[in-house]
């Protein structure tokens, strides 16, 4: 229960990343990541819902009985998602036109219910909000990474239409990496999503394996300083 904030952060961003480690939320992931901007928008919307649901579930955890917890969690999450949907429709309308179809689907994002059930309902408010933030950031990171890969290979641009999402100040993000690119349709379509996701997952495994090897090396060389790392690698 007394998880350190460092641990929660690491879990959310990398070790236990919603997409890269838990392989949850693949439906919104593959559906919206045709461009990095869409991925970012969807990621931020999900992040907001995760933080809000972490807060409310943790706040109400003393009231909710185990027998009715699932319907209550779903109700809370559905309410938050609907509110986010309405607010986006009213205030970031252009992005809502692109993502509108997928926002209601955040309700069915198993990762949010999963965090409510396995974290927020057992922890204090602050760690729960922090966990929602980190999990949401990790999810956003995965969405943007996948979106960037698919957009770059599929249409030769990066962060196209970012100004619609973030305002004109961020227009500099919109890059045409490969001018006169003919486009590689497969990457924009769902099969490209699966392919890119596969490579992304493989990439994470490779990095993890490297890190572990380096850690093992460091331990054999200087065993006395790295007690903390040994505990992490066991987790």
């Amino acid at each position: 229960m007394s998880l350190s904030y460092r641990r929660i952060g690491r879990d959310g961003l990398w070790d236990n990343n919603v997409v890269l480690a838990q392989l949850l939320a693949l439906c919104p992931l593959l559906a919206v990541t045709g461009t990095a901007t869409n991925g970012l928008g969807m990621g931020l919307a999900t992040l907001a819902v995760m933080v809000a649901s972490g807060f409310s579930v943790s706040l109400l955890r003393g009231l909710i009985t185990p027998e009715v917890r699932i319907p209550v969690f779903v109700l809370i999450i559905a309410t938050i998602v609907t509110l986010v949907d309405m607010m986006m429709n009213a205030w970031v309308h252009d992005l809502h036109k692109v993502l509108g179809l997928f926002i209601p689907l955040i309700v069915t994002n198993c990762a949010i219910l999963g965090r409510a059930e396995s974290f927020a309902s057992r922890n204090q408010i602050t760690p729960s909000v922090y966990d929602g933030l980190m999990m949401g950031l990790g999810f956003t990171f995965a969405l943007v990474a996948l979106g960037a890969v698919r957009e770059l290979l599929g249409s030769g641009t990066l962060f196209a239409n970012a100004a619609l999402l973030l305002g004109d100040a961020f227009a500099f993000l919109q890059l045409t990496i490969i001018p006169d690119y003919k486009g590689f349709l497969l990457m924009i379509l769902p099969p490209g999503g699966f392919l890119a996701l596969g490579f992304l997952l493989a990439g994470k495994r490779i990095i993890d394996a490297r890190l572990q090897k380096r850690r093992a090396l460091a331990e054999t060389a200087e065993p006395e300083i790295d007690a903390g790392a040994a505990a992490t690698s066991g987790a």
Binding site: L63, L83, M87, A90
Partner: protein, 218 residues
Amino acid sequence: MGEVAVPSYRKRVGYQAALLGGFATLAAALLALGDISTRDAIAERHAEDVNASLSQVIPDALHDNDLLDDQITLDDNGRPVSVYRATRDDRVTAVAIPIEGKGYSGIIELIMGVDVNGNILGVRVLSHAETPGLGDKIEEKKSDWIFGFNGLSLDNTPLKDWAVKKDGGRFDQFSGATITPRAVVKAIKEGLEFFRAQRAALLTATNEKKAGEKHDES
């Protein structure tokens, strides 16, 4: 969990029901609040959207009215069609007709502007779910294909030409996508036929509506 003894009342069915009911009520209240605070903004955005697409298919010079205010609903073989009308000095100068085509993946919604003589002023896609990179060339952002309809009418283009080239018509299909342009061409042709059949009603209804307004509380 489990360190604190659970009070016995929490085990009762009544408590569970009240809990669930309470949360449902709270959720309903929150949603109502959210709806009230965003409804106007959403309606405004929606009107802006409609206006933006209307002004693309009907040039501003043709009308002095607010297009959103002059809408009449006609019957097209049992399907109600809401047509926006552009008027200048109380005379109808053009109409915007919503049309639909059955595309490769679902309905393609379009809007077309037609002047009083049945010439197309412009066509725009409002929504579609066609394959990106293939079928989405019907969007004006992706290709200028949709502008090829400007100025055409049933009079200056024979009926047999209203098809894609593959079907013996005069309109280009896209490489890799024939169903989408075929659906759009068919929808536009049907829109023009609708205009021809309903022309009298579309152009003269001004007076009827003006007269009707006096009795109508709206």
